[in-house]
Symmetry: C2
Subunit: 341 residues, 2 copies
């Protein structure tokens, strides 16, 4: 997934960020536990041992820089955002019944359902705890509180988005607008918040915050659409979750919606049959669905939708002063839509 | 449960609190949802329709008053504390596999596991969101941030305590000290935080905060010990959860530890056999265990331990200026240990 490797000019900075972030994530967690050798500490270490792309915390740090702030001060919020992301993955894997994440067993499989629920909760609380530490690093209490308000409102949206997604399972009459609203709540909100919070913690002018908020939302929309495309057109090892997860959970994502739009009633009946087939023969079902998504140009059209979001995201960056961070945000937007394609 | 009804002199105030709190809990939640008719909103309403004793938020408000603060300003934190309590009950019921709470079906039974996990998460985020609103009511951002820091650290402790509790299931060699440490993390921390946060949001002197912190911890220890006694010696409808829950989950609580202490190896073998019997014949197992706890005076001794905690809690109140709120806190301490006995 190219998103891990931005252009050479910015790579050093991102590697530095990665080291600082992973170091902070480990240390902060260990320091905050009363029982650092207990089962929760073990489960949390298991998760942190396979770090993800750190896209959201990096986005927060670059947004902070691009808005004229000091990313060192915002580091606890960046780490907190990653804790929150991890928490949602842990609970999401339970909900989806997935057995693998980032190349290793999911928590509810490796440990137990109770341990997975509690470790998810633990990461949620680490999120908020970590945010409060920005004040010790010199950001005003006012701004940190605004960031926590934004964060908690966003997390409420994510829950609602996840519930909406579950309620849409198998609903092949889901309109594109409903899907877009769902991913806006479930996914785009997180990128929007990371970007907006970075700007907020920079303590810069409101117009920068507004631009970075809009940038993050469009970026997040594109990111989720691409994720939904990769579920049918990606390299399995790069997807982060089992290749058949979307199909097994009857997820009506944008490629499915576009395929039905193109192929009409017959396409809808075929997909309905393939969703049923997936329960007994997921491989055949998956292969036939991919074929349909290709012949109806549904994947292609989804990529175009993502590209449109990316254009809108990049346009927001013009409201910011020129900086390396702004260019990294521009590069990130390009990488989101071009990964693996 | 007498805890609902403090002495006549203070009852009016508490009823007012109850109305204000339940009203705030409903309104704040509804206002914060993007999809107020979605499944999460329904599930959340289901839970809020059976309010608990509101002990923790009332404790927060009285601690605020007793430390010289304005409870109107701290109301969002009081409500937030109740949201957090509700969240932990929802996730706890999944972990314990309990089917009933506060006289109605638990969420994972009535809806589904995914909905219960997400509704628990939703209540966690409402907790933090609600706390941020204290600033709008005039409490300094500094103090609200300190409160959020205390809150999130406490929630981490609760997770660790819950994990510790799960790991102690069926471990009949659990020493009293390990049990006390577990309930300190899992339960007493919440009362300690409610009391300390109330004092913190009063923006009064540090010695009041310290006294109310200690008061809350001792009160919480007593409360949990009494809860563990009521599991074997209470009126089922007042317990809040199924009467056999502790036994079914192999909980080694303080009455069990005292019974083993009194009856030695024979007692331990008998309890071990009763834990096994509970899987097939919970009624007989429960009746025989109660008998053992009575004949070994284990319940009596547990009540004495709780009474000791209450004495320590009340002693802390002497560091506070005289006020109605302080007297309500004193009455609360007495009620915790005398409920149903």
């Amino acid at each position: 997934m190219i998103i891990e490797q931005p252009g050479c000019a910015t790579r050093a900075t991102h590697l530095d960020d990665e080291v600082r972030l992973t170091d902070y994530l480990d240390r902060h967690l260990a320091n905050s536990l009363a029982a650092p050798s207990g089962v929760l500490a073990q489960a949390a270490s298991h998760v942190l041992a396979a770090p993800g792309k750190l896209m959201r915390p990096r986005l927060l740090l670059d947004a902070c820089l691009a808005a004229g702030g000091d990313p060192e001060r915002a580091l606890p919020a960046a780490a907190g955002t990653e804790y929150g992301h991890i928490a949602s993955l842990i609970h999401d894997d339970i909900i989806d019944g997935d057995g693998e994440r980032r190349g290793q067993e999911t928590l509810h499989r490796k440990y137990s359902l109770p341990t997975a629920i509690l470790t998810g909760d633990l990461f949620i609380f680490q999120t908020f705890l970590s945010y409060t530490h920005c004040h010790e690093r010199g950001i005003s209490a006012e701004r940190v509180l605004t960031a926590i308000n934004l964060l908690s409102r966003t997390c409420v949206e994510v829950c609602e988005g996840q519930a909406l997604e579950a309620s849409m399972a198998g609903q092949l009459d889901t309109p594109e607008e409903a899907y877009l609203q769902m991913i806006r709540l479930k996914s785009a909100s997180v990128c929007r918040a990371a970007s907006e919070i970075g700007a907020c913690l920079a303590e810069g002018p409101d117009e920068f915050i507004g631009a970075l908020r809009a940038y993050g939302e469009h970026l997040g929309m594109a990111f989720q659409i691409i994720d939904d495309v990769l579920a049918y057109d990606g390299v399995p090892s790069l997807l982060g979750k089992p290749q058949h997860s979307d199909l097994a959970n009857g997820r009506v994502t944008i490629p499915i919606i576009y395929a039905i739009d193109a192929a009409g009633l017959a396409g809808r009946q075929q997909i309905s049959a393939l969703f049923w087939l997936a329960r007994t023969d997921p491989d055949t079902s998956y292969a036939q669905l991919v074929k349909l998504l290709v012949t109806t140009h549904a994947l292609e059209r989804a990529l175009q939708s993502a590209a449109l979001c990316i254009e809108q995201a990049k346009r927001q960056l013009d409201y910011l002063p020129s900086s390396d961070a702004r260019e990294r945000l521009r590069a990130l937007a390009d990488l989101v839509v071009t990964r693996d394609h």
